[in-house]
Symmetry: C2
């Protein structure tokens, strides 16, 4: 089953059920008006939503043409967005580029930060940027949405709390990160609003592409119309989603609609070294920071700039028949000008 939230002038959008091939949709208002409402009562809502999906597939409901451009993020605002850093290779590269050692514990204890969840950007909406010097970057990630998770949940039980899966562009302002992390309280201004894929997908709808803990397909990242990254989501993922959920729930419960991210998908090269660019036969990258680290390690300084006004990133995933699974996040950086009266 695939779900989306269509732009309708409300804060949470209109919940719709979408066909697996992303061609048609039908409103889900008879079951739940919004995705949060469905998640608040998932056990009751899920059969009704699945029934709509079945009838849409069988043609018993005609449905309407689905347009990814009309989508908000599936949860346009959420009560929690907690982003892990499960691909430790990414973290190791960041550290290596600045000559810092990766603590051994990073391989056994997940990194996770609390992200802002009140105002996500739609998958096809522009990314507003005040200042190019802030170092705008994308990060292609996978995220899961949970139902209510009890405090202290085990890793085994956590897997059963994964109700939906999405893609994310975890928008980052690299220029603000060093100063902010130096203050010791984690990210805040350096992590502005993220965007999520047009549709959220149930684990069963992924079939064999979901192994219970992670997706077994490559992430597809294109940048300014060129292939930028094709790293596999099931390679070098040190912490799978059930582990990330258990980490998040160690000292408090997680409310229904909690979104947990994987962190930037990142693969080592086949020889175990730092991943190579696609042009050099590697799988490439899910963020600009990573290619800049490779450049820094190789040449002493980065040569790929961060996103400038007009630059465009597209994040997608395809099944083994080359069909888009989640629809595409496709975003361009635009100049933001504050209304001085505000």
């Amino acid at each position: 089953m695939k779900l989306a939230s269509l732009r309708d002038g409300t804060r949470d959008g209109q919940l719709v059920v979408v066909t697996d091939d992303l061609s048609r949709y039908t409103p889900a208002g008879a079951v739940a008006g919004t995705l949060q409402a469905a998640l608040d009562n998932w056990a009751a809502a899920e059969p009704g939503l699945a029934d709509l999906a079945d009838r849409l597939l069988l043609g018993q409901i005609e449905g309407m043409e689905f347009d990814e451009e009309a989508c908000l993020s599936p949860l346009p605002r959420a009560y929690q967005w907690a982003d892990g850093s499960a691909y430790v290779n990414h973290v190791q590269l960041v550290r290596q580029a600045r000559g810092a050692v990766l603590p051994e514990s990073f391989w056994t204890d997940p990194l996770m930060y609390q992200g802002g969840s009140d105002s996500f950007i739609g998958p096809r909406e522009a990314i507003p940027l005040v200042n190019e010097a802030w170092g705008l970057d994308f990060e292609a990630e996978v995220a899961v949405v949970t139902d209510d998770v009890p405090m202290g949940v085990s890793e085994e039980a956590a897997a059963g709390h994964i109700k939906l899966i999405m893609l994310v562009n975890d928008v980052s302002l690299r220029g603000l990160i060093p100063g902010e992390l130096g203050k010791g309280f984690g990210f805040f201004q350096s992590k502005p609003s993220s965007s999520f894929s047009p549709v959220a997908v149930t684990p069963d709808a992924l079939g064999e592409a979901w192994d219970g803990g992670k997706i077994t397909l490559p992430m597809r990242v294109d940048y300014n119309g060129e292939i930028f990254g094709r790293p596999r989501c099931d390679v070098d993922m040190t912490f799978e989603f059930p582990r990330l959920i258990a980490h998040a729930a160690r000292t408090r419960p997680l409310a229904a609609g909690t979104v947990i991210g994987s962190g930037t998908v990142s693969n080592r090269d086949v020889d175990g070294g730092a991943g190579r660019p696609v042009k050099e036969g590697g799988v490439g990258y899910s963020c600009i920071a990573e290619i800049r680290m490779i450049e820094t390690i190789a040449d002493g300084k980065p040569s790929t700039p961060f996103m400038r006004i007009g630059d465009r990133v597209r994040i997608e995933m395809r099944d083994d028949k080359d069909n888009s699974i989640f629809g595409a996040i496709d975003q361009t950086a635009v100049q933001y000008v504050r209304n001085r009266s505000e």
Copy 2:
């Protein structure tokens, strides 16, 4: 105007309007069913809520007896909880106790962390604790709730976005903080669910106790039945709320219902040194960590333990007639035992 969310079996509770003396209430469902719904459309909801408050005051609505025990946090779950650290004296003491220098920039650039907002505890609910070694502590703070705040808002304009004011117990697990901050991504497990005061109050209802940027009254913290702290909220507050809001909104908009915290209220002693305990004639503290720092600075080691099972904290504020303004947060630490089947 004072608002509360009463426990009714739903996730968001029932929005009610409460008399200024906290004696009676009337349901607000005809205007908005939940506080988030009111904040989503505050300009339209506020007059209707104010009208209910007027009629309740005049006796045109009889109302029912208000019971603080029946309250959830005013926003039982929120889309954002961002906590500042505006009383830099508190931060300086933490650093001093561990022999670290406070960066000069901390006096000009606010510290703020993104907190978990999906599952707040009610003001009279117990604090579940798995392990006393985690170092359970309270932090008495003031928080404001905003309507929609545009990205890049000025400090001047930010003041007008403050719609409600509450007290907070920002529950902290001190034993988990050093390890977590050492990883560089900020707090996560070390900041479990917070609690908020029984009622949220509009700025105008505070009268002269609200100066547009901060509260001009003492915080009252009692611990295990004894006076623990009476620090003034308007003393040593380096960053006032409009500044904290502008800081939070620098790179992204804030959605209606955003909660911004002041950080632990903390006053220097009258001679400019570290604050003294109440028993020694000082204004005392808003958290256990601070008295432990004073003890460490004086004696080389702390003597006051963190909260143990059964310990109880009460956080309140009174007006110049000694009436409770927000109702009281009053919480006891209880042993949490995970259901092993979960």
